[in-house]
Symmetry: C2
Subunit: 741 residues, 2 copies
C-alpha cells in the first residue's frame, strides 16, 4: 500500500489515526504478526488439550494448565498460574424415572461411539448433570412447559394449567438453561428436567453424530444452572476473589443455587416421558421434532427425579501471561479464553484457546524480533468457566482495584468455528473493531472478513432500510454483550470496555457440552483445517497489538451515543406496544372475544382486565442522549483536528487523555448496581434476569418496564440519564485535553 493510498484511508480510520500516521512500523509489525499463527500448531495444541476430560478440578485440567504454563515459558513469556478455591458440586446420584402410567428409567448415559477414541474415557467424564442444582428427590406429575421461559407460563395460564407441585419438562433453547428451573420454581414446580429436542438440537437440523455433526439421541447438554443473572463466579464468595482466606457463605445462604432439583436428559430419554403425557395438545410453536403428539399434561406421566451431589471445594488454575508495556506499563490490554471444558471440549473452549495460544507464540516471536508494546498485555487462560465463569470472575474480583485503574479493554473469545466473523461488545469500540476486521483475510473467500460479514448481513436483511444502512454506514453494528462467557466480570462488574470475537455460522453443531465435543468431532465436522482458528488469532491478535501500540486509544463515542439513542427508542416503543397490547386485550375481554373464539372441546381461560401501563417520562434519557451525542461529536472533531494539523501530543498529554478514555466505560457503571442485583453495574448492558445469556440493554429501565414495575422504571430512567450526562461531561474533558484547551 502506498502512502497516498494510506492517507486517503486515514480519513475513515480516525480513532487510530495517530498510531498509523506516526508509527510507520506499527502496520509492519501487524502484518508480520498476522503471518505467524499456524493452523497446524493449533491442531497439535487441540489434540493435546482435548486428549482427556479436563473439567474444573480434574487431573487433566490441572495438567493442561501446567502444560500451557510450560509452553508459554518455553516461548520466553512471563507466565504464572493463579489459583482459587471454589465450590464445585459433582453428582453422586442421578435418577429420572417414569413410574406411571408406564415405567421407564432414563439412561442418563452418553455411550462411546465407534471411531471416536475419546468418547470411551468414561471413568474420567463428568456424568450428565446440571451443576448447582440443589439436592432433591421428588416424585410428581410431569408437565411439558416448552422452553420454560416466562411467556410459556403465561400460555399455560391461558390453558388453565398450573405446574404447582409438578415436575416440569423443559426443552433447551430460547433462554440460558438456568432460567428454566428458576422460573419453574417461581411457579411452584418441585423439579425440573431439561432435554434437547431434535427440533432445536438433533436430527431436524442435520445428520447426527457420528454420521454428521448434530446431536444424537444419547447426547446430553451438561451445564451450570446457578443463578448467574444474580451474580456469577464462586457462589460462596460474591464480590471477592475465592482465595484461601476469604470468608465464605454457608451453603444454606447461597442465593444462586436452584430452588428445585434439576437434571438434563437426552431426547432418547425424553421421548418416553413425552409419550406418557396427556392433557391439551401443545401449541404449535411448542412442538418439537420427536415423532409424537406433544401434549402438555400434567400427567398421567408421574416421574421421580433424584439428584444428590458431592458439594466439594476444588482448586482452579488460571494461567496468566504478562508482556510488560514500554511506555504505558500501567495501561493493560487484557485478552482471555477459558481452558476448562465440561468433558473433552474441543469446540468449547479449545478451539478458541488454541487460537489464543498462537497469538501468544506470535507475540513471543515479535518480541524476539525487537517489537515492544507500549502498553502491558495480559493474556489469561481461565479455568472453571463452565460452572459459572468462575476463573475470570474470581480473578477480576480479586484484582478489582488494580483492574479498575489499569485495564483498557478485555478481549474475549471462547468457541470458534468456520464462517463469518461475529463481533460484539462495548460500542465505544465499535469503530475500532471494524477497522481491525477490514484487515483480516477470510481464508475461504480471499476477501476481508469484514466484507464477508457485511455480505451476510445484506443477504439476511429483511428490508430496504436495513440494507441501506448496511451498505452506507461506515461500520457494521456490533452486538451488545449479555453473558455466557468470561467478559462478564470485566464489562458488567468492573466497567472495562470489552469485546467478544468468534467465527462461525457455516457449520452446525450438536455436541455442545457433551462427550462428543472432542478432537474427532472438531477435526471431522468443524474447522478441520484450523484456518478459522488462524483467522481468530489474526483478528484478536491484531486488536491487541494495535491497542497496545496506539498513541491515542481508539475509543470512539459517536457510535456509542447513536446506539444509546436506538436503545432509548426501543424502550419507548416497548412501553408503547405494551400499552397498546393491554388496551386492545382489555377491549377484547370486554367484548367477549375470548369467550366467542374459545372451543368448548379445547377450553381456554380468558385473561383478566389489566391496568394499562402509565406513560413514562423519557425526557431525561432523551436529553442525556442528545448531550452524549454532542460531546461524542466534539471529541471526534477534536481528534480529527489533531490528525489534520499533525499536531504533536506528548506522552504525558496522551497519558492524560488515554486515562480519560479508559475511565469512560467505568463511568457507564453505577456503584449501586442494577435493582435487585448489585453485582451488575453497567447501565447499558446486562444479561437479562429472565434470559440469562441474552442481553438487556439499558437493563434498569428495560427490565422494570418488562416486569411492570413502573415507579422503578421511572427512577431508572433518571438514574441512567444522570450517568449518561456524566459520561458526556467526561468526554467533553477528553475533547478539551485533545484540543489543548
Amino acid at each position: 500500500m502506498t502512502v497516498t493510498q494510506r492517507s486517503r484511508i486515514v480519513l475513515f480510520l480516525l480513532p487510530v489515526v495517530l498510531t498509523i500516521a506516526r508509527a510507520q512500523t506499527s502496520s509492519e509489525w501487524e502484518s508480520r504478526f498476522r503471518g505467524i499463527p499456524s493452523a497446524e500448531k493449533q491442531r497439535e495444541y487441540m489434540e493435546r488439550l482435548t486428549a482427556r476430560p479436563h473439567h474444573l478440578g480434574s487431573p487433566y485440567g490441572r495438567e493442561n494448565a501446567q502444560w500451557m504454563l510450560a509452553k508459554f515459558r518455553e516461548w520466553g513469556l512471563d507466565a504464572t498460574i493463579e489459583t482459587f478455591n471454589v465450590l464445585f458440586p459433582s453428582p453422586k446420584e442421578r435418577m429420572v424415572e417414569l413410574i406411571a402410567p408406564t415405567r421407564y428409567r432414563a439412561a442418563l448415559v452418553e455411550p462411546p461411539v465407534a471411531g471416536d477414541p475419546t468418547s470411551s474415557q468414561q471413568s474420567e467424564q463428568l456424568p450428565t448433570y446440571n451443576a448447582y442444582s440443589i439436592d432433591g428427590d421428588v416424585t410428581a406429575p410431569l408437565v411439558y412447559v416448552n422452553y420454560g421461559i416466562p411467556e410459556d407460563y403465561e400460555r399455560l395460564e391461558r390453558l388453565g394449567i398450573s405446574v404447582k407441585g409438578c415436575i416440569v419438562l423443559a426443552r433447551y433453547g430460547a433462554s440460558w438453561r438456568g432460567i428454566k428451573p428458576k422460573v419453574a420454581a417461581e411457579h411452584g414446580a418441585v423439579g425440573c428436567i431439561i432435554y434437547s429436542d431434535p427440533r432445536d438440537d438433533g436430527y431436524f437440523q442435520g445428520d447426527v453424530f457420528p454420521k454428521g455433526p448434530y446431536r444424537n439421541a444419547d447426547g446430553v447438554q451438561r451445564g451450570s444452572v446457578m443463578d448467574m443473572p444474580l451474580y456469577p463466579g464462586d457462589p460462596l464468595t460474591p464480590g471477592v476473589g475465592a482465595t484461601g482466606n476469604v470468608q465464605r457463605l454457608p451453603l444454606n445462604e447461597v442465593p444462586t443455587f436452584t430452588r428445585i432439583p434439576v437434571l438434563p436428559i437426552s431426547y432418547g430419554d425424553a421421548k418416553p416421558l413425552l409419550e406418557a403425557l396427556a392433557g391439551p395438545v401443545a401449541p404449535e410453536s411448542w412442538r418439537g421434532a420427536l415423532p409424537l403428539t406433544y401434549h402438555i399434561g400434567p400427567g398421567p406421566a408421574m416421574v421421580r427425579l433424584r439428584v444428590i451431589s458431592s458439594w466439594d471445594r476444588k482448586d482452579i488454575y488460571n494461567v496468566v501471561v504478562r508482556i510488560p508495556g514500554s511506555t504505558y506499563p500501567d495501561e493493560w490490554i487484557l485478552r482471555g479464553n477459558h481452558h476448562d471444558a465440561w468433558v473433552n471440549g474441543a469446540e468449547d473452549p479449545t478451539s478458541g484457546m488454541v487460537a489464543m495460544m498462537e497469538e501468544l507464540r506470535a507475540f513471543s516471536e515479535l518480541l524476539k524480533q525487537g517489537w515492544r508494546p507500549k502498553r502491558t498485555i495480559v493474556y489469561c487462560a481461565w479455568d472453571a468457566e463452565e460452572q459459572g465463569l468462575i476463573g475470570s470472575v474470581e480473578w477480576a474480583e480479586h484484582h478489582a482495584s488494580e483492574l479498575t485503574k489499569k485495564a483498557v479493554i478485555y478481549i474475549n473469545s471462547d468457541s470458534n468455528g468456520r464462517g463469518f466473523l461475529s463481533m460484539a461488545g462495548s460500542h465505544t469500540l465499535e469503530s475500532f473493531i471494524n477497522t481491525v476486521a477490514k484487515e483480516i483475510m477470510d481464508p475461504e473467500k480471499k476477501i476481508s472478513v469484514w466484507e464477508r460479514a457485511k455480505a451476510r448481513r445484506l443477504a439476511n436483511a429483511t428490508g430496504a432500510d436495513e440494507r441501506k444502512e448496511i451498505r452506507e454506514r461506515k461500520d457494521l453494528r456490533i452486538g451488545a454483550l449479555g453473558s455466557g462467557s468470561d467478559y462478564t466480570a470485566f464489562l458488567d462488574h468492573l466497567g472495562i470496555a470489552s469485546l467478544n470475537l468468534s467465527y462461525g455460522g457455516e457449520e452446525g453443531d450438536g455436541i455442545y457440552h457433551s462427550i462428543y465435543d472432542d478432537f474427532f468431532w472438531f477435526t471431522t465436522f468443524s474447522d478441520s483445517d484450523f484456518v478459522y482458528g488462524r483467522a481468530l488469532s489474526q483478528t484478536a491478535g491484531t486488536a491487541v497489538l494495535r491497542l497496545a501500540g496506539a498513541d491515542l486509544l481508539p475509543f470512539g463515542f459517536v457510535n456509542l451515543a447513536e446506539t444509546v439513542q436506538r436503545y432509548v427508542d426501543e424502550l419507548k416503543k416497548l412501553l408503547k406496544s405494551m400499552r397498546e397490547d393491554i388496551i386492545e386485550r382489555n377491549r377484547q375481554i370486554a367484548d367477549s372475544v375470548f369467550f366467542a373464539v374459545d372451543s368448548p372441546r379445547r377450553p381456554t381461560v380468558s385473561p383478566t382486565i389489566e391496568d394499562v401501563p402509565p406513560e413514562l417520562d423519557f425526557g431525561p434519557l432523551e436529553k442525556a442522549t442528545e448531550a452524549l451525542l454532542k460531546s461524542a461529536q466534539q471529541y471526534e472533531d477534536a481528534s480529527r483536528a489533531v490528525q489534520e494539523s499533525a499536531r504533536h501530543l506528548s506522552t504525558r498529554q496522551l497519558r492524560t487523555i488515554n486515562e480519560k478514555l479508559i475511565q469512560s466505560e467505568r463511568l457507564l457503571t453505577d456503584a449501586s448496581g442494577l435493582p435487585g442485583r448489585p453485582w451488575f453495574r453497567h447501565v447499558l448492558y446486562a444479561p437479562g434476569f429472565y434470559t440469562g445469556y441474552g442481553v438487556k440493554t439499558i437493563p434498569g429501565v428495560r427490565e422494570a418496564i418488562e416486569q411492570k414495575r413502573w415507579k422503578e422504571a421511572q427512577a431508572e430512567v433518571r438514574r441512567v440519564a444522570g450517568t449518561l450526562v456524566n459520561v458526556a461531561r467526561h468526554i467533553d474533558l477528553a475533547a478539551d485535553d485533545l484540543s489543548g484547551k
Copy 2:
C-alpha cells in the same frame, strides 16, 4: 323482535330492505324454516349414506342417489336423477418400490382399524391412488421437492439440483395436489410420489386415528390430479355435457391428464424413502415431522413407480330437486353439495350433504304449510365431484344456455365441521350473506355466527388497522373463490354469482380422502351431535329462502367495487415488489454477495442477473374501478331512496331490474376466457394455474405478472378494465330503472 327494533336494523340491511319492509311474513317463514332442520336426522342420513364406499361408479353411490331421490319424493318434492357418462380411471396396478441403496416395497394399503366398522370394507374401497395419472412404469433416482410448487424448484436451482430424469417425492400441502405432478413434469421429472407429512397432516398436529382425529402412519390422501386449472369436469367432453351422444376426445388428445405417473403414499411408506436420500440437507422450511434428517437427493435412493389404470367410462347420478317459483319461475336459486366420496366420506361430503337434505325437508314442510317461493329453487346433489367436479361441471355445461339466462345464484357447500362460519364467493353478495349470518345462532355460544366469526377475525388480526376495519366495517369480508368444489362451473365458466358456506376451525382432521373419513370418525371427533350441520342447514336455507322470496334481489355493488380496488392495489404492489426484489438481487449479484455468503461445504448456485420488469400502466384499471365505485354508489343511493320513499315497484319493474342484477355477474366474464385456458371466463376470480385451488383475483393480470409475461399483463389490464367499465354502465342502467328514470 319488535317492529321498532326492526326498522332501526333496516338501515343496515339496505339490499334486502324491500323484502323485509313489505313482506312481513317472510321473516316469519324464515324463522319457522330455521326451526325445522334436525341434528338427529342428519345423523341418520349420514349413517345411511356412509354405510359403504360410494365413489363415482360404485354400486352404493348409485344406491345413495336413488335413496335420496326416493326421500325427496317421499317429502313431496319434484326430484329427478340426471345421468352423464364420464371417464373414470381406476387402478389395476400400483407399485412404489425403493430398489437402492436398500429395498422397501411401499404397502399402499390402509388397514382396518379396530372399533371402526366401515374401515374393513376393503373389497369395495377404491385403492389409494391419484385419478387421471397416466399409466407408467419408471425407475429413477428420487428427489425430495418439498411441496413441489414453482418456488421450490427455484430453490432447487439455487442448490444446483435438477429433477430431470428423476422421480420427485413431494409432500401434500401448499397447493392443490394436481400442481405437483404438473410442475414436476415441466421440470423434466419422470414420475411423482405425493405423501402426507405428519408435520402437516399427522401426529405433529394431534393424536392420530383412532386415538385422535389426525392422520395415522397408514392413512393416504387419494385425489384427482387432472389439470383442473385448464378445465374441470369430464376430460373427454370439455365445454359440453357428457351425455350419451356427444363427441368425445380420444384419450391421447386429452390435455388434462398428467404428463407423468403419480401415486400418493402414507408417511409410513414415505419414511424409508426419505431415509434413503442423501445430498444437501433440505432447507429448514422444507423439513417435516418424520424423525429423520430431510435430505434432498437426488439418490442414492432409486425408486420404481408403476401405475396402470383401467380407463373406463361410468354413469354418474346427479339428483336434482325443483321447487317452482310462483312469481318469477324463470329466476333460479341454485343450491348444491356433492354426494359422491372417495371412500365412505362422512366429512367429505356427507356432512354437507345431510345439512342440505334437511334444508329440503324443511322446505317441504313449509310448502305443506302454504309457503311458496317467488323464484324457482333448484337443489342439486352432485355425483363425481371428487374426480374433477364432474357432476356439477357436466350439468352446468349441459344446461349452460338455460342457466345463463335464469340462474340468479349458486350456493355451494361441501364438508362441514364445528366452529366458525366461513363465507366466500361473489362480492356482489357480500352484504347479503353478512345479513344472513347475523340471523343464525351459534349452537355452542348462543351468539350469532356472524358475531363469532367476527370475534375470531379480531382474535387473529395482526395489526391495529386490520382490527379497526373488522370493528368498523358493516360487513365481514368474504373470501374470493378459487376452486375445489362444485361452484367452479357456475362462477368461473358461466358467471353465476356464487357463494360457498361451511363451518369449521374448532377441530382438526386427518382423514381427508382416506378410508377413515367415516361415520365412526365423524361422530367421534367432529360435529358429533350435528349441531353445526343444523347451523349449516339454517344458514344456507335462510339464504335460499330469502333470495327466492325477495322482491328486489339483494345484490350490492359497493363492496364489489371496493374489493376490486383492493385487488388492483395488490397488483400494483406485486409488480412493485417484483421490480424491487429483482433490482436488489441484481445488485447483490453484482456485489458478489452470493459468492461471499456461500459456504464451500454447502455450495449454492448464485442466481443470474435478470431483466427488471417494466412498469405497467394501471391507469385503465384505476379509471374503471373509479367508474365502478361511482355506479355502485349510485345504485345503492337509488335503492335507499326507493326504500325511504316506500315507493311501490311493480312486478314488471322488479323483473326488469332483477334481470339486470342477475346479468351483472355474467358481465364480469369474458367469452374468450383467460389466456391459455378459455374455459375460465370470470375476469375477477379463477383458481391459480399454479395453485389449483387457491384463488387468483383478476387472474388475467395477476398471473401474467407472476409469470413475467409483460405484454400480456398490459393487454389484460386493458381487457379487464373494459369489462369493468361495461359492468359499471350496466349498474347505472339498473340504478336508472330503480329510480324510475
